[in-house]
Symmetry: C2
Subunit: 492 residues, 2 copies
């Protein structure tokens, strides 16, 4: 290199370092506002092996108070080992309000690499791209600032860096077989990365950084971060507008038209129960071995008989393979994250049955009616939930949703019964009485929920529960049918 050129490079670097320093101070001074306004920030850093993702993140965080951020490394695992939906590790790692999470490569690398490995089919690849877009939109609409960076280097630079790493005993281990494969297949990867960015850049744009020049990449990344934080702080917490995608919906009756008269005799009940539980036990065994995840969602009126119904379904299940998850009001650390987070983190491993006693539908019932979220929030939730459940079924889960239904008279009778029976009194709270007063508003909300979220892939079932015995048998039959079908599909 000629002296003039060397000097020019030197001057450029000095200039960049000055800028980085000043940007770093700006970021530092934004810290308090991020915290005060509770802005949650996700910085996704994708890019080539040896492009310097780790050291870029290092530069970004170097002056941030470590209590404000975290870094998560994606663990890319083969399909066979993975027991959760592919978005699971990323969804579980989202930051709480006022904090920054850096993803040191994430869902992009995950999806692209699994596709190139042929761990997933073309159709699955398309599904995952769609899920990624949904996931990102949901985060944005939930008030998250999402910055997506891709650190680019050319094939020659990558080869040079990998060679340098491999020559040194202390660093040789950093270059994996996967990395060498990428180097050999540089063109294929380039095409795949570009195609992925093309398909996922519509809503939240990708920023491609020139990783050949380290200081330049750092400056650009930091500038993007500082500017987008500024914009987000100024605009205030973003709340996404409701939107409507068309899902394949099942037609649901209005609750008021449901015939609640069906009953079962004790004798029929006992005979059916025994037979169905035996069958369910066998199916659980098969489900377990086929590694099919099962998610049963229970919602219903207070005192409708959810608990007893759940107990009858759970009884024949191998306790090593199922969990009942009671959902109460969210705790502070749960409120501090997107509302689906506390459900993501409770998903079952594949092959396990997970029974949710109340669910994410709280969003469009109690949270809607009690004003715990904005109107935009709950109106958006129907689609968000449909998307979430579609992601679950695409992972392979059986998702069934039960509305345990009774009428107002039956509820009153059961409330009174609880009140006068000492060992049942704990089941009845002031809140139950308050909710009862809002029956019409709830009924309206529930009708809307059933109408908008009973999809072909995750249908609702209204379970007539004025007679609890009838309700339990009906539920068992539905679960059994669905599991039998899932087992058949699995074999096919």
């Amino acid at each position: 290199m000629k002296k003039e050129k060397k000097d020019a490079v030197k001057a450029e670097n000095a200039q960049l370092k000055e800028e980085i320093k000043s940007l770093r101070e700006q970021l530092l001074s934004q810290q308090q506002a991020i915290r005060a306004k509770g802005l949650p920030i996700i910085v996704l850093v994708e890019g080539w092996a040896a492009a310097g993702k780790g050291s870029l993140i290092n530069e970004l965080i170097s002056e941030i108070d470590p209590r404000f951020y975290n870094v998560t490394t994606s663990v890319i695992t083969g399909e066979a080992e993975s027991r959760y939906p592919f978005l699971y590790p990323y969804a579980c790692a989202i930051p709480e309000n006022g904090k920054i999470m850096f993803y040191d490569s994430g869902w992009m690398e995950d999806v692209v690499r699994k596709y190139l490995h042929r761990d997933i089919t073309r159709a699955q690849y398309r599904e995952r791209v769609r899920s990624v877009n949904e996931f990102e939109r949901q985060l944005r609409d939930g008030g998250y600032l999402l910055l997506k960076l891709f650190l680019d280097i050319d094939a020659g630079e990558q080869r040079k860096r990998m060679s340098a790493l491999r020559e040194n005993y202390e660093t040789a281990w950093r270059v994996t077989d996967e990395d060498l494969w990428q180097q050999r297949e540089y063109k294929l990867f380039k095409q795949s990365y570009e195609s992925f960015m093309d398909k996922t850049g519509g809503l939240i744009p990708w920023h491609v950084l020139d990783g050949n020049k380290k200081n330049l990449a750092v400056r650009d990344a930091m500038k993007l971060l500082v500017e987008s934080v500024d914009r987000a702080l100024e605009a205030g917490r973003y709340v996404g507008k409701p939107f409507k995608e068309s899902f394949p919906l099942r037609k649901m009756p209005k609750l008021s038209t449901v015939d609640l008269s069906p009953t079962l005799t004790d004798e029929d009940y006992r005979a059916e129960l025994k037979k169905l539980q035996k069958r369910l036990g066998e199916l659980h065994n098969r489900i377990y071995r086929m590694k099919i995840p099962v998610i049963l969602c229970y919602e219903g009126w207070d005192a409708a008989g959810k608990g007893g119904n759940i107990r009858r379904v759970a009884k024949p299940l191998d306790p090593r393979g199922f969990d009942v998850i009671p959902i109460a009001s969210p705790e502070p650390h749960e409120l501090a994250r997107q509302y689906l987070w506390r459900f993501w983190t409770r998903l079952p491993r594949s092959g396990h049955v997970c029974i949710f006693d109340r669910t994410w539908y709280g969003r469009v019932m109690v949270e809607r009616l009690e004003g715990f979220c904005t109107e935009d929030d709950w109106k958006r939730a129907y689609n968000e939930i449909n998307e979430f459940e579609r992601q679950l079924t695409e992972w392979g889960a059986v998702v069934l949703k039960f509305w345990i239904h009774i009428d107002q008279d039956t509820q009153l009778q059961r409330f009174n019964d609880r009140q006068s029976t000492p060992e049942k009194q704990w089941k009845l709270t002031e809140e139950d009485w308050r909710n009862r007063e809002k029956w019409p508003q709830y009924e309206e909300a529930i009708d809307e929920m059933l109408h908008k979220t009973s999809t072909e892939f995750a249908p609702w079932f209204i379970i007539e529960s004025n007679d609890k015995k009838y309700a339990r048998i009906k539920t068992l039959k539905i679960v059994i049918d669905a599991l039998e079908k899932a087992c058949e599909d699995h074999m096919a």
Copy 2:
């Protein structure tokens, strides 16, 4: 079998079933009291392969409201795959107040099997037995009811059952190679189980159930559960007495005698910082590859400079391999469990560095002084914490604890500085002023803490931080020394 004998067996079984039914009703009626009194219950079910642990648990839970209990299955993994202390999965799974957790085999099977596999040495086996005793005592002293069952069957019965399982296509998979190995080595296992129970039955007794007769085992297990719950409910929440084991302690000075005058010039600071951070970065790389877990604990006066100190130590670390964990007041779900639970669940994977910004020592400082726990609780905590930290170091962790120290004048100066600097105001709260008023009480508590918990395996270091630069350099040097030593030990 003769007819008389058959009839006798039949009558016995009928009788047992009656008893089981009645016990089940008792358990059902205890449910509300368990909940109301917040009694947390652990039922550990160990025993032979094919002894029927799963179906015993099934019987025990069959009428319990699924919201009240959970079942966890131990995942016994080879030493190589395990990235956490051996008690980690069990400690993370403890139930919250008012709930029951069934362990479908647990720490006993884990320790015995790893020893028989020679995954752990004789010395490690002894350490683990001791850790198990400590773990169980800590749970008991924290108010947990712990019931330990061993389901026994003889070699012939085991062989018979395994053969039956293997003959049926639907159940053959349940018999693993491990199970077959146990069958072949029945005598060896018997000896090992007995020896383990012998060594861990002193404080919380083992109950051996006759698994050859299913109904008998169920009756006995249920009876034990109902009776012990009765006793626990009657006695009220158990609070363990303080106790004192002798640990190898380092002599610590009283805080009042610490010379806080050391300082560093800006020039020396910058030169040292650069050199030490470079060295720490290299060591982190080695630590990561050697899979040595590192746990750095920060405690100190408000405004002592913990945050800045942590930042200087964290800076050279690869962000993919460390986490800073800020510890605030416990949330409801954390308060509902033994106090160390929220730290167990945050332990780093081996090879990672975990920096705790405040720690479990809150127990003997703020919780002691503000009355958030009983006197017995905090007095017991010194030993409990020493045990916990010894368990961590036996896992292989480097555990270092820093008391970031300043005097009252310096604190006042920094408080005033914070108050008058807008971007620092958030760092100063009313609580800081209140704590300051209690300086003498805190100093007494801290002196006692340093005196009682600065063990050879997990020592305290007082970091003079009137001059923050001096403090940072001192901390870095201590961390580097310890990591260098750990790397050497690892090679040896």
